[in-house]
Symmetry: C2
Subunit: 243 residues, 2 copies
DNA sequence: CGAGAGCTTGAGGCATCTCAACGGTTGTGG
DNA sequence: CCACAACCGTTGAGATGCCTCAAGCTCTCG
């Protein structure tokens, strides 16, 4: 099952996730499936809600407002799950789609419940991952609510770098980034035009370059300082005491 | 156990939550405890992380940025839980505090894990509640990312009304609201000054009034239309098929 | 070879912020 | 019981960060 591996790398810092839990999870996920770039990932089918493990590639969740504007909620990279909340609650008007070509494994509501019943520890590990996603959502909220455009972009790229590094897709401040500028703008609550100017500003100040689908962070400490970035929330400490 | 009741009202639309689950949950919560207004609720103590059921009163979670500005993440009203994510992940720099005098019941990480092991159905019900919180967080993100000040305030108040109505604290567009203007501003990513002007604008347009700690929504349909509010996410449908 | 999407730049407008000031209320200590 | 501090609510005036409208370039894809 090589397709579990980015998730495993991510969960490696979660103590309750061992070989048994790995097995419990893997047997309940659907078989790996390739989905083309830029296609919707329905968060429900005729049998009920569906969540996805993104085994490879990039995806996103978003909402469309009545006036047609879009808010990107989460960017999913290999090892991430999307739609877990929707398993219990229905997706509401939340949507999901692939960005690149993606390999997914499905997780249905029934499988999820079965997993929870079969292995409390595996369930806790998934909950750990879910809680980490919530931390990112909270950071995202702070980003949009209280930071300037320059800070937002810096913070966004540093977070992405940290997450990709955990799963082996980034090193030394460099990573491939298949996101378009309009998409990033919709994630950060900016217009594509202003994002473009902000990227230019960061480039001329020698902090980071985003060109031709590649991000290069040139001065990580300085960029982190001026963006108010502290990556601790990406490497959550497991609480010491668990029964 | 009268103190469980707002939570029960909220969970009443969750099918997996029956008397047995109620019991499983209640025996694992700490005894009701009264906390004074405007005091911090530590999300961890010497034994590890702690979450809280807000049995009565209002509380909030927030983050403080290096420059001293504050972003309010969630407002908790009776029946809500705060800090559930922190049980698995540690609180990060997320903080929680009471707004009014509050009655809480503690939930420790160990109790939480025990609950999950003892009753899958109770665990699922909590997860249902947790997923609903995530929906609200997503709505909050859209609010701040893609809506104007007027829309944000309208949406915020309509959401609050919907949530309070579910637990019996609002009726006919009226509810007591102990939030100060600076606090609401910090929730919506605005300055207190601009929030004040926005409230005045909504008042003069006959949409809603917030004065002396009471919110009166005068024209709910019109306010909902101009705010892009659709309360469906507050009343999540349970997926039909669960094993 | 045309259409659509993304990237880039310019110019002007406006929503929101910043700075400043004042009155009312509450709580507190002398 | 009074004086004072602290916080909240309110309004004015001016500054600015980000948006809107507009246009041209490049690249990909059909």
């Amino acid at each position: 099952m090589p397709f579990l591996s980015p998730l495993e790398r991510k969960l490696s810092s979660c103590k309750t996730f061992g070989p048994a839990e790995r097995e419990a999870l893997s047997t309940r996920l659907g078989r790996p499936r390739v989905v083309a770039a830029r296609t919707e990932l329905p968060l429900a089918d005729e049998n009920g809600p569906v969540a996805y493990l993104i085994a490879d590639g990039w995806a996103l969740t978003y909402k469309i407002l009545p006036d047609g504007t879009r808010q990107v909620i989460e960017i999913a990279v290999p090892g991430d799950m999307i739609g877990v909340g929707a398993l219990r609650v229905g997706s509401g008007d939340l949507m999901a789609a692939t960005i690149t070509t993606v390999t997914v494994r499905d997780l249905t509501a029934a499988s999820f419940e079965a997993l929870l019943g079969a292995s409390v520890r595996a369930g806790m590990a998934l909950l750990w991952s879910y809680a980490r996603d919530e931390s990112m959502l909270v950071e995202h909220l702070v980003d949009i609510g209280r930071r300037t455009a320059t800070e937002r972009v810096g913070h966004f790229m540093l977070e992405l770098h940290g997450r990709l590094e955990q799963v082996g897709f980034a090193r030394d401040g460099r990573f491939k980034c298949p996101l378009s500028q309009p998409l990033i703008a919709d994630a950060l609550g900016l217009t594509a035009i202003h994002l473009n100017r902000t990227l230019r500003d960061l480039r001329t100040r020698g902090l980071m370059i985003f060109r031709a689908g590649v991000v290069e962070i040139l001065d990580m400490p300085r960029l982190a300082r001026q963006s108010g970035f502290d990556g601790a929330y990406l490497h959550p400490a497991e609480p010491a005491a668990t029964a």
